[in-house]
């Protein structure tokens, strides 16, 4: 009987010892951030931590919806910062989830291109709710061995030729991509802006996506999902970001990407700070760091996007020859105007009419499309 008693005591002691063990105390603060994949790579995070003592924990989001939800989760305040695209930033501002930041505290702010200092997606009423980060297009990714000839049109992802081998993002904003394709191929619909769609235009886009559904292998939720699909050969063509292309090429997969002739949707990202964050010191240090020309160049090359700091171009070419021109960092404005950046669809069509489909309808339609 005593032996069993001792066994019990021993087990209980071991069980209680675990709560007593603690993690080593951390110096500096910890920044919990929500980021796109590829935005917090060790090559620029490690030097940051070494320099400032602030540690970075990143949670990856696969879509703007997810980022808005994460920022608001747990009553807000679970995360300090978020790299929000244009279709998340205004939602966060109006939802009071992010706070005003002071650009004068960011030394490199004055080096930003004029269009990126106070863009409407992060500056409201003259107040800056974040610091612009980088921008780029959504691309058409394809397996060079299985998809010939090389595609030049978005029509390739709606083509039954690749049945069961197509992948597109699991994101309601993908409806805008369908609308963009219709904008160019069915001008009679009269779509002027892929995010401002009246009922007829919206239904046409959904009909196109419904026709596409049997071709889809999987709707990818995170960039790594798509990378897996291409690596395993489960998908050979799909809508993507340059990050996937760069990662797959680094892993010796036979892929290439292209911005098709119809143009592309894209993103324009801002680093925002939570209104409930307690780590403002580290947050501003991060904002300053991520805006320096060197880090802007590193991130631009790694992800495949365009930096907002005009001084980054020179450094990009030293890191990777020709990358400045490849990612349009030298002549941004012309290229910039061709991309239809993500923004949250609202009922106000911007031409006096208020019959456009708002984002709830986009979300509902997307869930119903997936079935």
């Amino acid at each position: 009987m005593t032996k069993r008693m001792w066994a019990f005591v021993a087990t209980a002691a071991v069980g209680l010892a675990f709560p007593a063990a603690g993690i080593t105390k951390q110096h500096g603060g910890t920044l919990n951030m929500i980021a796109w994949e590829g935005y917090t790579q060790p090559q620029w995070v490690k030097p940051f931590t070494k320099k400032t003592g602030c540690t970075v924990h990143a949670k990856y989001g696969g879509s703007s919806d997810e980022m808005v939800t994460l920022m608001r989760s747990g009553g807000g305040g679970q995360y300090d910062m978020v790299s929000a695209s244009g279709d998340a930033s205004l939602r966060l501002i109006y939802g009071k989830d992010v706070q005003v930041v002071d650009p004068s505290k960011i030394p490199d702010f004055k080096n930003f291109g004029k269009a990126f200092q106070s863009p409407p997606n992060n500056t409201v009423g003259g107040k800056h709710y974040g610091i612009s980060l980088q921008w780029g297009p959504n691309t058409l990714l394809y397996n060079t061995k299985k998809v010939t000839p090389a595609p030049t049109s978005w029509g390739a992802i709606y083509d039954p030729k690749y049945r069961g081998k197509v992948t597109v993002p699991d994101n309601p904003i993908q409806i805008a991509d369908a609308a963009l394709y219709l904008m160019k191929t069915q001008p009679s619909l009269g779509i002027k802006d892929p995010y401002e769609l009246n009922k007829t235009q919206f239904d046409a886009a959904i009909a196109l996506l419904k026709k596409q559904k049997p071709l889809i292998k999987k709707y990818w939720g995170l960039a790594s999902d798509e990378i897996d699909l291409f690596k395993n050969g489960d998908a050979v063509i799909g809508a993507s970001w340059p990050y996937q292309t760069n990662t797959l090429i680094a892993a010796k997969a036979p892929v290439k990407d292209v911005v098709p002739k119809e143009g592309a949707t894209g993103w324009l990202d801002t680093w925002m700070v939570s209104s409930k964050s307690k780590n403002l010191d580290c947050a501003y240090k991060w904002l300053g760091w991520i805006s320096t020309p060197k880090v802007q160049a590193q991130q631009a090359i790694y992800f495949g996007e365009t930096p907002v700091n005009s001084k980054a171009c020179a450094i990009m070419d030293t890191l990777s020859k020709g990358s400045c021109a490849q990612y349009h960092a030298n002549a941004p404005l012309q290229y910039f105007k061709q991309i239809h950046f993500w923004k949250t669809p609202i009922a106000d069509c911007g031409n006096g009419q208020k019959n456009c489909m708002d984002y709830t309808k986009w979300q509902q339609a997307w869930t119903q499309l997936k079935g």
Binding site: G62, S63, D65, E66, V68, T69, R72, S73, L90, R91, Y94, G95, K96, G164, K213, I216, K217, K218, Y219, G221, D228, K231, N232, G233, D234, T344, I346, D358, Y359, T360, Q363, Q364, T367, Q368, K370, G371
Partner: protein
């Protein structure tokens, strides 16, 4: 029984507080019952049940599409949307069908296994088998699902093995078949253990009596063993059914574009769509289904077999 305290014997010992308290509790079983039960019951009611109630209240609210803020305005909009849209009905039917298929599959796989364990294996073998069945449950649920992802994808073990045998690639990755296989795999131990427990409890005398009455092996199986094992099967099915209805990890990692399940519609709505009220409304579906299932299970005696 309480003689010890009031007699001379009891007085010869020190009547301390502890004895008095012990005595009082013995004489008033109601107090003892209250003291023993109230922490658990209170904890559950004030935390768990309250949380559940709050969740279902929120099913009657909505969120602002733009800011994702909850609007505390009573409305049946969420339920109306569920009723009007064919999609959600399809999702519910698909999930319940897969849950049923998984339960059936696991019951068929588990029964012979549990029979062997309960009635044929030697005690040492039985103990070993028990541990062997329990062990996969400890091997990280996420990892077991992930291993199937590695097995089923186009460059994985399955395709490679079939290729070696000269068979064509099954192309089963990211399909409902894959989802069914993975669910059946993950929940199998939950079905084996209750069925084993039920079979183990059947006294050998019953089998002998059945034989004495002239029944051969199969008849005994059908008329004596199966009915007595049924509560165990139903108990196991509670797990397989409920776990399948609510799971979103497997559909996220394993299934493809062929359709969503209740688990991932609810999880997507809550974790990605920022729409907890709608998630709560749709979550009412598995709750109602499980509620009905539990009532039937209780009738069939499953709770005694748990």
């Amino acid at each position: 029984m309480a003689a010890g305290l009031d007699t001379a014997e009891g007085l010869s010992r020190e009547v301390g507080v502890r004895r008095r308290l012990g005595g009082a509790l013995w004489r008033h079983p109601f107090l003892k019952g209250l003291a023993v039960l109230s922490p658990t019951v209170l904890a559950f009611t004030l935390v768990y049940v309250a949380a559940l109630a709050a969740l279902f209240v929120s099913a009657f609210w909505t969120v602002d599409a733009f800011t994702s803020q909850t609007i505390h305005h009573w409305t049946l909009d969420n339920f109306r949307q569920l009723r009007d849209s064919v999609t959600y009905r399809n999702v519910a039917v698909r999930t319940i069908s897969i849950a049923g298929a998984v339960t059936l599959t696991d019951a068929i796989i588990a029964f012979p296994f549990a029979y062997f364990m309960a009635r044929i294996a030697t005690p040492r073998m039985r103990a070993a088998l028990f541990v062997l069945v329990l062990l996969p449950l400890w091997a990280s649920y996420i990892a077991r699902i992930y291993s199937w992802k590695l097995i089923l994808n186009s460059s994985g073990v399955l395709t490679w093995s079939l290729h070696k045998l000269g068979l064509p690639a099954p192309n089963v990755a990211y399909s409902n078949t894959a989802t069914w296989v993975v669910f059946s795999y993950v929940w199998l131990p939950f079905m084996i253990l209750p069925v084993y427990a039920a079979l183990e409890r059947i006294p050998h005398s019953y089998i002998e009596a059945s034989r004495d009455l002239g029944a051969r092996g199969f008849r005994t199986l059908r008329s004596v063993i199966l009915p007595l094992a049924l509560p165990g099967v139903v108990a196991g099915s509670i797990f397989t059914f409920s776990l399948t209805l609510g799971d979103y990890i497997t559909p996220t990692l394993i299934s493809g574009a062929s359709g969503q399940f209740v688990g991932n519609v609810v999880a997507d709505s809550a974790l990605r769509g920022g729409n907890l009220p709608f998630a709560a409304a749709f979550a009412a579906v598995p709750v109602v289904v499980m509620g009905a299932y539990l009532l039937i299970a209780r009738r069939l005696g499953a709770f005694d077999a748990l």
